[in-house]
């Protein structure tokens, strides 16, 4: 058996790791206005997103450009502002500045078919990826 295993690693390796971790924590603390994590409730985005899944969302894209068809976004519920919806962009009308949202599960979704197109300003966050559950981790 080898007695060499795990003996000495260069100090720089630990310093690097600590620095990376520290930077990561600081970045997360700092960046929650740009980057955040959310938990999915409800089934209207099934089978793409299931209840209880955890996602990474970011808020920078839509400060620079309009949402695009096919992107999954977070938007304030036009009927209950305290609630944040997660839906897919089905259409964008640049002229009127509105977007049309749909759930992937058309049978089980309340979306723009009910409450109409919503102003583009109501769409702040774009869904980037799912990180939990791990086997379903994916870019979205």
């Amino acid at each position: 058996m080898s007695t060499e295993r795990g003996r000495h690693r260069p100090l720089s390796s630990f310093v690097m790791r600590a620095a990376a971790l520290g930077a990561g924590v600081a970045a997360v603390a700092f960046a929650r206005r740009w980057l955040d994590v959310v938990e999915v409730h409800g089934r209207s985005m099934a089978p793409t997103l299931l209840p209880g899944e955890w996602l990474i969302v970011e808020a920078r894209t839509y400060t620079r450009r309009l949402p695009r068809v096919g992107e999954i976004v977070l938007a304030a519920d036009p009927r209950d502002a305290s609630r944040e919806l997660i839906k897919r962009v089905a259409a964008v009308d640049a002229e009127s500045g509105t977007v049309d949202l749909r759930g992937d599960a058309l049978e089980a979704s309340t979306d723009s078919r009910t409450f109409g197109a919503i102003p583009v300003e109501a769409v702040g966050w774009r869904v980037m990826a799912r990180y939990w559950p791990v086997p379903r981790a994916a870019r979205l």
Binding site: V38, S44, A46, D77, E107, S109, R113, W132
Partner: protein, 140 residues
């Protein structure tokens, strides 16, 4: 301990009616009652029975109409209309037929109502109704 990776922020893949249980058989059963009642009415000379038939038929036809309307308003979605352009017309005619069953003791009207409900049933089946809106199995 709470999983530190778990997001605090909830987003809603929202649906107004999470129950989402629909089945044209509900309307069909009430309409069958109407049919049978009309048969009994026409076969009988017992005034009391005939009066009761009218009263019960009134009630059953109203229920039929209600179930048709619920399917029409709540189950069917715009994409179903694209698939079945005569969806609105069929539901409208079915509602009208239910009214006619209420007003008359005409067995042909009761038959027509059943036929229209069967047409709605076909559309419900073709849009995945049985799998999507009925429980597949319930543990005791």
């Amino acid at each position: 301990m709470r999983n530190p990776l778990r997001p605090m922020r909830r987003v809603h893949a929202h649906c107004d009616i999470p129950c989402g249980v629909y089945d044209p058989q509900q309307a069909r059963i009430e309409a069958e009652s109407c049919y049978k009642i009309v048969e009994k009415y026409n076969a009988s000379s017992d005034e009391l029975l005939r009066t009761r038939c009218i009263a019960v038929k009134e009630e059953r036809a109203e229920l039929t109409k209600h179930h048709i309307d619920v399917l029409w308003h709540d189950y069917f979605k715009p994409e179903h209309l694209e698939k079945f352009p005569d969806l609105h017309d069929t539901c409208w005619k079915a509602s009208k037929a239910a009214s006619k069953v209420k007003q008359t003791t005409d067995i042909e009207a009761a038959k027509e109502l059943l036929g229209l409900i069967d047409k709605i049933d076909e559309m419900w089946k073709a849009t995945g109704g049985p799998e999507k809106t009925r429980l597949q199995a319930v543990a005791a």
